[in-house]
């Protein structure tokens, strides 16, 4: 009988504690918003050191299952398990420079028509209302690139919700959010690269009838603008800026 025992590898203790805690969270034994037992209690229950417990909790935090609050009422609190979990998967891929904008757009091109088809099958008054409000908002003035993008993605998110398949909804919402982030960064950079007043000199020269100055001013502007674009295209930095 003794030889059926498996020696305990200290390095697996953390993983085992992490798996058991994760299992309790996923099975709803510890619910959203609830606090995990203290480090000391957990270390008693699992019969492991507090260091092991702390490492396991750090692992849960890194994978998005708990958040740590500091202070006297602090501790590790269970986060909601929702479709947002899918987003970090894509974000990491993107920051690992493994995704191009083209790939993102290809996937959207393939999946979103299907989502629109499914959404139309599930339409009801509530959704009609939401869609109409989103459309009306698109025509309102916007106060920042972010605001504009929010207004323009609203319809896509509503359709995703309507499609009735939560996996489609979660994946496409994650991809749209990522897409949104990239575009936002691009827009901000472009706006930075094209300040107001850059046309002043050109227009003044034209109005004054100074053809040579107009030509020069426009050449300068075009060349500045071109270099902003080329810099953007080459730089990997713009991918990170909005982080």
């Amino acid at each position: 009988m003794m030889d059926s025992f498996q020696p305990i590898k200290q390095s697996n203790a953390t993983e085992e504690v992490l798996e058991q805690l994760k299992e309790s969270i996923l099975r709803g034994k510890i619910k959203e918003g609830e606090k995990l037992p203290s480090e000391r209690e957990l270390s008693n229950v699992f019969n492991v050191s507090r260091g092991v417990v702390r490492e396991a909790i750090q692992g849960l935090k890194a994978t998005g299952f708990v958040e740590i609050k500091q202070g006297p009422l602090g501790g590790a609190f269970v986060k909601p398990i929702n479709l947002g979990l899918l987003e970090s998967g894509f974000t990491d891929l993107f920051f690992a420079n493994k995704l191009t904008l083209a790939e993102i757009l290809d996937v959207r091109l393939h999946i979103e028509p299907e989502i629109a088809r499914l959404a139309a099958l599930n339409v009801n008054d509530e959704y009609r209302n939401q869609l109409e409000i989103a459309l009306a908002n698109e025509n309102q003035a916007y106060d920042s690139p972010d605001d504009l993008l929010n207004k323009l993605t609203a319809v896509h998110f509503i359709l995703a919700k309507m499609c009735g398949n939560r996996l489609f909804e979660g994946m496409i919402s994650a991809i749209i959010s990522l897409n949104h982030r990239i575009i936002k960064t691009l827009l901000e950079e472009l706006l930075k690269g094209h300040g107001t007043g850059e046309h002043d000199e050109i227009v003044q020269a034209v109005i004054a009838g100074d053809s040579e100055a107009a030509q020069k001013a426009m050449a300068r502007h075009a060349s500045d603008y071109r270099s902003v674009f080329l810099k953007l295209e080459k730089s990997e930095d713009w991918l990170w800026i909005s982080k």
């Binding site: 260091g51 692992g59 299952f65 489609f168």
Partner: protein, 243 residues
């Protein structure tokens, strides 16, 4: 050496985690690189070795690194293959936020497109790999795991061929969840889910460079296996009372 910054003590482990993660994502630390030792990291960040260990566990839990034991052991950077998406999808399924049918439908929808894109990139190397995978399917199987691995090989090669990292990541996450679900079924049921030769037409079309044919035969396969999977999976999760 790595351009790390000093640490705010209250979030020390988190801060170390984030900086190491950033170094991996940005490619400063590459696949199979060994992280500096605990002792070195604790010097670099000016924190205790416990803090470093917590951060490393976080990286392990979010599948950025593997820990190897022994004299040549240490923390090694993994290929970041989108495992966070995999663990996210699996968590949603276990916590009843996704049904088998939702998972099955998404697979049925994206795989024909993957097969079509794969065909556009076919070359001799891929042809050979697909043919070997088909041959393997007809070899005797040693276990359920072995069986599932043999039957997934073609799908994974096609995912690689399609040259879109998002599709590839999605599909490997979905395949791994499919395995997880199927593994709990009685073996007789598992073996009856997937008939021999179901991939023949798909591979034939891909090898011939016929994207429409590949798409169509994958769709047929999806309807066949997919529906069986959804039906069997649902029946068994009703029985086991996953609710």
């Amino acid at each position: 050496m790595y351009d790390f910054k000093p640490i705010d003590k209250s979030y020390a482990a988190e801060d170390v985690f984030n900086q190491l993660k950033q170094a991996i994502l940005s490619g400063d630390l590459k696949k199979e690189d060994k992280l500096p030792s605990e002792r070195e990291l604790s010097k670099l960040f000016n924190v205790s070795r416990n803090v470093v260990r917590e951060a490393i566990r976080g990286l392990q839990a979010s599948v950025f690194i593997d820990i190897k034991c022994g004299p040549f052991g240490g923390a090694f950077v993994r290929e970041n293959s989108g495992n966070l998406l995999e663990s996210g999808i699996s968590a949603l399924y276990i916590s009843n936020k996704l049904t088998i049918s939702e998972v099955g439908k998404v697979r049925q929808f994206i795989e024909p497109q993957i097969a079509r894109l794969a065909t556009l990139n076919v070359n001799d190397d891929y042809r050979r790999r697909l043919e070997i995978a088909l041959e393997q399917e007809n070899q005797p199987v040693a276990s359920i795991d072995d069986y599932m691995q043999k039957l997934t090989a073609v799908h994974l090669i096609l995912a690689q061929m399609c040259d879109n990292e998002i599709f590839k990541t999605m599909l490997s996450a979905l395949i791994s969840l499919t395995h997880q679900i199927i593994k709990d079924l009685p073996p007789a049921q598992v073996y009856s889910l997937h008939r021999a030769g179901e991939h023949d037409h798909i591979v034939a079309s891909v090898v011939l460079g016929d994207p429409e044919g590949a798409e169509k035969s994958m769709k047929r396969h999806g309807n066949c296996f997919g529906e069986a999977f959804i039906k069997t999976g649902n029946a068994s999760s009703d029985q086991s009372g996953r609710n």
